[in-house]
Amino acid sequence: MVPLRLTCFTATSCIGQGLAPMLESLLAGRSGLTPCDFETADLRTYIGEVPGVDEVRLPAELAPFNCRNNRLAELGLRQDGFADAVARVAGRYTAARVGVFIGTSTAGILETEQAYRRRDPVTGALPADFEYAKTQNSFSVADYVRRRLQLRGPAAVVSCACASSAKVFASAQRMIEVGLIDAAVVGGVDSLCLTTLYGFHSLQLSSAAPCRPFDVARDGISVGEAAAFVLLERPDRERPGRGRPGCARSALDLAADDVVLLGVGESSDAYHMSAPHPEGLGARHAMQAALTAAHLPVDAVDYINFHGTGTLSNDRSESRAVVGLFGTSTPGSSTKGATGHTLGAAGALEAVICALALRHEFMPGGLNISRHDPALSACYLRETRRVRLGAVLSNSFGFGGTNCSLLLGRAG
């Protein structure tokens, strides 16, 4: 595939609102996980909560979209000049040529959960102020982002559980490739709600401690929340001829320090609804497909951001998949010990972390690990390393056996 430039990117999670504090947290090895005191939840677990989400006010004309998920989206859009960058690109191509593809797993379901506690005692009806389309429906967040950024191109939510906001990169890439659009706002927004907190608890997949990916005593995830956005653009559509002659990117308008999307790989496990394939077959197919799309060999990958949820089965099957394809020397880590598992936002959040790693030349070490599980033979980084990276891979896998790997790199 033709590489796409990440013209602008930003993320907001429990380790920081915007890139600067997030970078600082990653370099310092700081986790944002705290004991769960969310809403009325009564669970012994840790969460990655973004502070201040409930104080965010949406623009008046978009007030009916008010829910935690869209407030988090709004908070995310305000960081790092993202909205301005989108406006510039929309000005260049027209707003109809910019698509919006956002991943989420639960959108504004928290509003519905709360509305069910306010049902009419006689009729059972939901309260009159409950807005289905603009809060509960999965599309609400893409609809919000599209309106907020005044875009008029195609839009959809991708909702493939925890692979949702990795897969949005694939949707955008294809639409750009076939010429339907010139640029796209992709991203992931998923916010804390009772469905996921109690749901993962019911499956015994959430940990009572901060999650410990790749640790021998790991026992589940910590649910987090995040809003992460990337402006993807085809680099040969503007200012032609800026690239250096003789360079592989000479036909493309890219600067050496630009971060580019080199490949996307997707697959299905065909195995189980809530457990990964034990040998990580689907995961391996997705990683291989990303390399194939980028025409790169395995040794081009310098770092892997693991899906690394901290459940027994995920880390085991992912390690097998990684070792099967890359061997035991390609370093990788999970950043979920810092951010928690942000579910439908994880793909985009971790793509942004990878973009930061490429730009600022580091590999983030995994947190909360006291003893590496000897059964997991993938090379797992426990300390942050300062090193220049050429290409990095980011894995996202979801319920339903849906897998997606993103390959990002430096343009030069």
């Binding site: 509960q136 599309f139 897969k167 339907l180 499956l203 065909a270």
Partner: protein, 265 residues
């Protein structure tokens, strides 16, 4: 590169529409739209343990997907998949919200696993053994065209066959009053990059701001307006009748999708 594909298999199920051949008779005016509710067939493809767990959304999606794959004369596992739905499984969603409103919050782990919007795609992959990529979209009332554009982009970008499955189910009360989808409905298209012996028409799609095509049959028009996945009906009507020309389908506010249809003679 244009956004185009051949339709090489069709599946359809909805209230009064028990499959593509029956729908064809309704489109031809030979039969009236049935009055009954959507009849969902048993899913023999799923292992018994899984079959007990699935709800109406999975049932309707898999039924139309199988019909389309059979129509294409192809192995159901041979397609990349695009599933698209506005609300997924409404009954499952209601049951979870109801559990969470109780003091003990005893959430069923099966219901939670099934609450993902990609449940039908996951069960389809398990049932058929397909390890190919699948994606699952939602665009509220625009979900059908969002799926169509995604599927056509996949066919055009990768020159591979894609199975598009659009489906919706009703919510029970109290959400039903807020989102009054009346019944389950599903439509599936096998879209191939080249013409096959089973191809019925070639589609070329782009954006339009022309007026959206409506159904001349009043009952079908009510269905089209009431269920997001049924926004495909004008296209399916033309496919069945072999009517060439542009078909403008409802998509987002101020943006429609125009499908130029060229029947395979």
């Amino acid at each position: 590169m244009s956004l185009s594909a051949y339709v090489s298999g069709v599946g359809l199920l909805g209230p009064g529409l028990a499959g593509w051949p029956e729908a064809a008779r309704v489109f031809a005016g030979e039969a009236a739209l049935g009055a009954g509710r959507t009849v969902l067939p048993a899913l023999s493809l799923l292992p018994a343990a899984e079959r007990r767990r699935v709800g109406r959304a999975v049932q309707v999606a898999m039924a139309v997907a199988l019909e389309a794959a059979a129509g294409a004369g192809a192995d159901p596992a041979s397609f990349a998949c695009v599933f698209t739905s506005s609300g997924g499984d409404g009954h499952n969603c209601h049951a979870l919200c109801e559990s969470l409103a109780q003091p003990d919050r005893a959430v069923s782990p099966t219901r939670f696993s099934n609450s993902v919007h990609n449940a039908a795609a996951g069960y389809w992959s398990i049932a058929t053994g397909s390890t190919l990529e699948s994606t699952v979209l939602c665009a509220h009332d625009a979900s059908f065209c969002a799926g169509l554009l995604e599927a056509l982009a996949q066919v055009s970008a990768a020159a591979k066959a894609v199975l598009l499955v659009a489906y919706d189910t009703e919510y029970p009360e109290p959400i039903h009053s807020k989102r009054p989808v009346p019944d389950a409905f599903g439509a599936a298209l096998v879209l191939t990059p080249g013409r096959t012996p089973r191809s019925v028409a070639r589609l070329r799609a782009g954006f339009s701001d022309d007026k959206v095509e409506v159904m001349s049959n009043a009952s079908l028009e009510i269905l089209r307006g009431a269920i997001p996945a049924a926004r495909c009906l004008p296209l399916l009507h033309r496919l069945e009748r072999g009517t060439p020309g542009p078909c403008v389908l409802e998509y987002l506010d101020s943006l429609s999708v125009c499908v130029e249809l060229e029947p395979c003679g």
